[in-house]
Subunit: 385 residues, 2 copies
């Protein structure tokens, strides 16, 4: 268990923010988090971002965001771990506060993909893969997910319809989230007839990239209790890695980093998968949702898909996932996604999730993946009464 | 004072490594650091890098470098703060070890610029500036340095020759460093007649970008003493920021972030500028060397240039800088530069700096800047007997 708690949450809508620059997106989330915490004094800022250098010609976001947020001079830097950048940035804040050298830290994940368009975006996203052995041959994230999914279907004798439940659940929940990129409900028939991007991965299987920012403010737990009514305790924080390239992994159909980081998180918190009331997993593709359920101990190997068929992942089910729409319907603002997950899980355990609330949620898990799971960051949150 | 010490150092040559990939560069430095420490067990890896996404189509270096170094599964991520990425990565390792949650951390700075050529490189470097208010108008790092330098010359009534001493000193020291990119000596006459890149900044004024990697291994000081004969204690670690754009700063000719981070470092260490035996400053341009000397308290405002004229910055002078050639002659492998500075200062205080040794050096300072000083990271190192 760490000695670190969340005292403020903020987020923007996830959508195509054509008229909003990356610094503005970051600021809107930061302002909301500061207002939520009733606290504006920040010692260090950790920015989670993957693509600003490539898509917005802007590196050096730490100093830029600090300045634009009225925090010129603060300690500030960018953390990058592909689409796990947001979770990795929170991990740095946890270490910083735990060290005693930083009192209050702000973590903001931000991504602005609409500064570019067309094939530039999938090419930029493919930098999460192995450049020399995957991307150079034309591999994309969708293509890599397709390889994983096809192998999974072959190994366990599944068909496309067996994955529909993931997207259907995500859209059903996203419809209740005013921040979500897509609020339309999805029918299983639409899922199986959707346009393929890299068969069997379709437009309704993969998460859409979007612009957005999400932020949290963290401080030492003993201070947090005096600052806000319901601080959210970070009872576990673990980051682990695996090979970037699928062909380098010892076991293609097992997300080793996701499993190790979840196991370490459970150990830190003194909890088991059965104790988790709500889980935000990295459903950038339905196959990653299925494999994440297995890696986190919610389903046996090869059985993750069943939870999408039998309703277990629904809001009233055994393992509610994608409760605000997940990456699929809330949208995937890449380097910000891990912070959206944290904001959502924190709202769930605080009991302020509105129409997305999982009744009685007290312990929540957020797991943020980079690429095809080469980075995995797991946090477990609970709300102190 | 932190409770963190360096137990191993590694670096590659800085040069154009046409035939070496970014993962190989990182590995060569890591292997050297592991050999130096006689220690291969690593809990967390912090990669300092600025440009791999743009120049090598490779983000997600944390997991990639961990895997390639035989450390698959380790906690690993990338830290970016423009050309201060290396120093910022070390700062994360200091916080991690200080937190008690990470026992031994590896910090590696790596940059590979020769995957691209021509105008792509200065454009990529310009992402350290404000994209919306500087770079979009064609501003480059050289151009921004030229503005600073011209103003400084105007304000203090200086001419080009007054800056020659910085480059002459850097090249004189670089000639003794087998790792340096340029080992030729430089005459003052050559400095003032050099080809201008953005007048008054010339080819012999600005540091050349190069490929390279440097690494250190850090652990808790009480463990370090049992592991190696001469651990190097990190007695201060401070990172601060300023506005990216020159026109946004309250005082153009004062590096506010460099001053604040140096002051905090002195406070942590209980030292004053007079206690520093050797200083590696961020001499990517001679004007930054002059302003850094002032910001760090080695010279009064407007007098930094004098230390290059009167020999104070030489190896036997009052404030030896660029003792292995500095960014100017050792070369500037951007995101790795901050770690080169740390490796060099550690060698100085350990007394293993070879032909570059400052006699009797016991306390050393390294200051790594991002862009035109919008990020500043200062570390102070001493050697335990």
């Amino acid at each position: 268990m760490t000695n670190v708690s969340i005292i403020g949450l903020g987020q923007t809508d996830v959508r195509e923010h054509w008229d909003t620059s990356i610094r503005h997106l970051a600021w809107y989330a930061i302002e909301a988090a500061m207002d939520d915490a009733h606290h504006h004094e920040i010692d260090a800022i950790y920015v989670g971002n993957m693509l600003a250098g490539q898509l917005s010609n802007q590196n050096h976001l730490g100093a830029l965001v600090a300045d634009f947020a009225g925090l010129r001079g603060s300690e500030a830097l960018t953390v990058e771990a592909a689409d796990a950048s947001g979770g990795a940035a929170l991990r740095q804040a946890v270490l910083a506060v735990q060290s005693g050298l930083v009192e209050t830290a702000l973590v903001v994940g931000v991504e602005k993909v609409t500064d570019e368009s067309g094939a530039v975006i999938p090419a930029a996203l493919a930098t999460a893969l192995d450049a020399d052995y995957e991307a150079i041959h034309g591999q994309t994230l969708s293509g890599a997910a397709a390889l994983l999914m096809r192998r999974y279907m072959h190994e366990y004798g599944l068909e496309l319809a067996d994955f529909a439940g993931f997207s259907v659940n995500a859209h059903a929940n996203g419809a209740a989230n005013p921040r979500a990129m897509y609020r339309n409900k999805l029918r299983p028939e639409s899922f199986i007839s959707a346009t393929m991007t890299a068969a069997p991965v379709s437009l309704f299987d993969e998460a859409p990239t979007g612009d957005g920012a999400a932020a949290v403010i963290v401080t030492a737990s003993e201070r947090a209790a005096d600052m806000v009514a319901r601080p959210v305790r970070i009872v576990a924080s673990a980051l682990t890695t695996d090979a970037l390239a699928l062909h380098d992994r010892r076991d293609t159909l097992w997300l080793a980093a996701a499993e190790t980081s979840a196991r370490r998180a459970y150990e830190q918190a003194g909890l088991t998968p059965a104790d988790i009331d709500v889980a935000e997993l990295h459903d950038s593709f339905t196959i990653l949702a299925a494999l994440s359920l297995e890696a986190c101990g919610f389903a046996a190997r090869g059985r993750g898909w069943e939870l999408a068929r039998d309703g277990s992942i629904g809001r009233g089910g055994r393992v509610p996932i994608s409760t605000f729409g997940g990456l699929k319907a809330r949208g995937n603002p890449v380097g910000a996604t891990g912070l959206y997950q944290i904001v959502e899980v924190a709202q769930q355990v605080r009991g302020t999730a509105g129409d997305c609330q999982v009744v009685g949620a007290r312990v929540g898990l957020a797991q943020n993946l980079g690429g095809m799971g080469a980075t995995a960051v797991t946090h477990i949150l609970t709300c102190e009464e």
